[in-house]
């Protein structure tokens, strides 16, 4: 189970490390598109775009469906959300820790102020 989760994360992070592929995801976030549409939009050859879509598809970030001669691409949304969730959870841990640390620092500042007044008296 853990192995499986790791393998998916590896594939997802690798897929997201390329600017064109991130652009494709952004584009598909707006609307579904054929590989031909995407190749034109990103000024690439059909073969080049097929490779990028293949990487995204293997990572589960994109789903494709062939209808007649046209292959339509759309977001495989769940995986993308999992990816974001991974960092988001980590962020939440540190954000809530640091909210508490804020309180400790405030308390130390308050004590120092009181001690400072005492010393002057």
């Amino acid at each position: 189970m853990v192995q499986y989760a790791r393998a998916r994360l590896d594939a997802s992070f690798a897929a997201l490390s390329d600017a064109t592929r991130r652009g494709v995801l952004e584009q598909l976030g707006r609307s579904d598109a054929s590989i031909t549409d995407l190749a034109e939009k990103f000024h690439m050859t059909l073969t080049g775009m097929k490779k990028h879509v293949g990487v995204l598809e293997r990572a589960g970030l994109v789903a494709t469906e062939k209808v007649g001669r046209v292959r339509t691409c759309k977001l495989g949304t769940r995986r993308f959300e999992e990816e974001t969730a991974w960092l988001e959870k980590y962020h939440q841990v540190w954000d809530s820790r640091f909210d508490e640390l804020d309180k400790v620092v405030e308390e130390l500042k308050r004590k120092e102020k009181i001690d400072g007044h005492k010393k002057r008296e």
Partner: protein, 171 residues
């Protein structure tokens, strides 16, 4: 009343950023409204450290906290979550008062090295925490592990923060 609480709390809060710098590195940053020596103190005195390291929203409690903060000194934190217990331990590699802390995490061979720097500017402190893992797999596992550990408890985070805010207001 809710509006009033928001307007009191919101301007104080600094942003926490998390970035995966590479396959093996994570970087977390946050600014604190206080001098570096106080923020450093909160990281190096066990009685202060234990006040913030395990916020209630984590659904865990800290059973013990030992920290021998000097080069070669060791730390050990013991946690309880539900019926199970776990420990977090390692060694301090660098200790530069008020500016830099480096420690290892030694629960497994895949433990990380954490570097925390404290940079003071205009009475505020920018904290940068850098975690370096021995492999990409170790970092992925750490993230997944943290996500599992946090689980559903995060859904209650907002609620808890409101409660914490309210109890703070009373004291």
């Amino acid at each position: 009343m809710d509006t009033r609480r928001e307007s009191e709390v919101a301007p104080m809060k600094n942003r926490t950023t998390v970035e995966r710098k590479s396959e093996r590195e994570l970087v977390v940053t946050r600014t604190f409204n206080g001098p570096a020596r106080l923020v450093f103190e909160a990281w190096t005195k066990p009685e202060l450290f234990r006040q913030w390291w395990v916020p209630k929203s984590m659904g865990m409690s800290l059973l013990s906290c030992e920290m021998d903060v000097r080069v070669g000194g060791r730390y050990r934190l013991e946690f309880a979550h539900g019926d199970s217990q776990s420990a977090f331990f390692g060694t301090y590699k660098e200790v530069t008062p008020h500016s830099r802390l480096v420690w290892t995490n030694e629960e497994s061979d895949e433990g990380s090295v954490t570097t925390v720097t404290f940079a003071e500017k205009g009475g505020k402190t920018l904290l940068v925490m850098h975690e370096l893992y021995p492999s990409k797999e170790a970092l992925d596992a750490a993230g997944t592990g943290a996500a599992d550990a946090m689980g559903e408890t995060f859904e209650q985070l907002d609620e808890l923060l409101v409660t914490l805010g309210a109890s703070l207001g009373r004291s």
